[in-house]
């Protein structure tokens, strides 16, 4: 039985298989509307995330399946002190596949040890969020037509951004990827991502403080939020904040064929007037999240 706990649980071939199915679903959604008839997806959200939960539920409903679950720990038995393992033992009797989010890192691994049905990690603390990474990959592939030979810029909070680390990890297995890391010194990518992922895989990368400087070289720009609580003082935050906000003006030097991604929710790091630019792909990314989750559910259930 397969699970998806981390993006590296899937080989490059398996990732491609999911992306290809998702791309086919985009074109022929009707052909998939009964693929999971009589199947039940449990969405166990020990920590609330309405967006991610709705994406999973929409995916299962679009496949003709049904869903059940809880949307925060207060409505689950874990508030009474039940362990993750016991909750999963029970729920795996009621469902065919489980998507779970939990505030503690590694909770989905504990679940996978006791579950009779596949487990999908829908986010475990700051650790992994592989379906976001699949969503990012599908968006890059559908927008750029490829997942190799790309210059990918990551901008903003590269220190705490798990979606950034995980996408870099996924890209490290593709050929000809150049990474441009754009952040203030305070929010630079952690050393272990450099040593264990980028250096280890011989990835080509540069670090810069300037989004303007990096812009013309990029095929993909992955924006993240620079949060005030990451800074020691407000002055630093205010001084740096504007440098990492994407505006139409900054986008003017970008390639015509490029795409801007953002894991959402956005606060102010992308100016609203960028939304109408054809390179803004962050809302398409949300739609892709549903298709890629449909493809993933089918794969883990062994449905062709």
């Amino acid at each position: 039985m397969r699970n998806l706990l981390s993006i590296t649980d899937f080989s490059v071939e398996e990732v491609n298989e999911v992306l290809e199915t998702a791309a086919d679903i985009i074109v022929h959604p009707e052909a998939y509307s009964e693929k999971c008839k009589n199947k039940i997806l449990a969405t166990l959200f020990f920590e609330p995330s309405t967006r991610t939960r709705l994406s999973f539920e929409s995916a299962m409903l679009s496949l003709g399946g049904k869903t059940l679950g809880f949307s925060d720990a207060n409505s689950s038995s874990s508030s009474k002190g039940e362990s993750v393992a016991d909750t999963i033992r029970v729920v795996s009797c009621y469902s065919d596949i489980i998507a779970m989010r939990h505030p503690k890192e590694g909770a989905p691994l504990v679940a996978s040890f006791v579950s009779d049905v596949p487990i999908i990690n829908a986010g475990d603390g700051g650790h992994n969020h592989p379906t976001q990474t699949l969503t990012d990959l599908l968006t890059i592939k559908t927008e750029m037509g490829r997942l190799d030979n790309l210059t990918v810029g990551f901008c903003g909070d590269l220190k705490f951004g798990r979606t950034v680390h995980s996408l870099i990890q996924a890209l490290s297995r593709m050929k000809g990827i150049k990474i441009v890391l754009i952040s203030p010194d305070e929010l630079k990518i952690p050393d272990y991502v450099k040593s264990d992922v980028m250096d280890k895989n011989g990835m080509d990368y540069v670090e810069t403080r300037s989004l303007e400087e990096a812009m013309p070289s990029l095929d993909v720009l992955y924006m993240t939020r620079v949060q005030q609580e990451r800074f020691f003082n407000e002055d630093d935050y205010l001084r740096l904040r504007d440098s990492y906000i994407l505006t139409l003006d900054k986008l003017s030097t970008a390639k015509k064929e490029m795409c801007v991604l953002h894991p959402l929710p956005r606060v102010n790091e992308i100016a609203v007037d960028v939304d109408s630019d054809p390179r803004a792909c962050y809302f398409k990314q949300v739609r892709n999240g549903r298709y890629v989750r449909m493809a993933l559910i089918m794969k883990l259930l062994g449905i062709k």
């Binding site: 362990s83 505030p103 503690k104 890192e105 691994l109 504990v110």
Partner: protein
């Protein structure tokens, strides 16, 4: 200082000097009721000084745990006063319930009844990571 040779038992030799007590504790040797000698700072040709533990009984030792704590050690198995087997311990691929994950965001900090498991990810630099949260094991 002289310790009598053992007839049937195990000698853990070449433990890094000063680590003998740690090895004694981690292998739960205090729970055995046979004779045990822990000899510290024994002169050694190779390393200058070493620790040795002699156990006067043929007991089952967790060599993985020993390998994690003292990868340089050798284990000599003695039967009827003769050396019958000499094993060099090695860094184990995984260690179970020896190290505790110190990451407060790790599921092991709250979930009851799960094993603390660390996996060897970098042999050269002896790096172990928690299988749940991937935090590095700290010495």
């Amino acid at each position: 200082m002289k310790i009598d040779p053992i007839k049937n038992g195990i000698v853990i030799d070449h433990i890094e000097a000063g680590k003998g007590m740690e090895v004694y504790n981690i292998l739960n040797l205090s729970e055995l009721d046979c004779m045990i000698a822990l000899i510290k700072n024994v002169p050694s040709k190779k390393t200058g000084k070493k620790d040795i533990i002699k156990i006067d009984a043929s007991v089952a030792l967790d060599l993985d745990v020993l390998g994690y704590i003292a990868p340089e050690a050798t284990v000599n198995f003695i039967e009827n006063g003769a050396l019958v087997k000499k094993s060099k311990v090695a860094l184990p691929e995984t260690v179970k319930n020896v190290i505790k994950c110190k990451n407060p965001r790790c599921i092991t900090s709250v979930e009851q009844g799960i094993d603390q498991v660390f996996k060897l990810v970098d042999k050269e630099n002896r790096v172990y990571r928690c299988i749940y949260c991937e935090s590095k094991a700290k010495d």
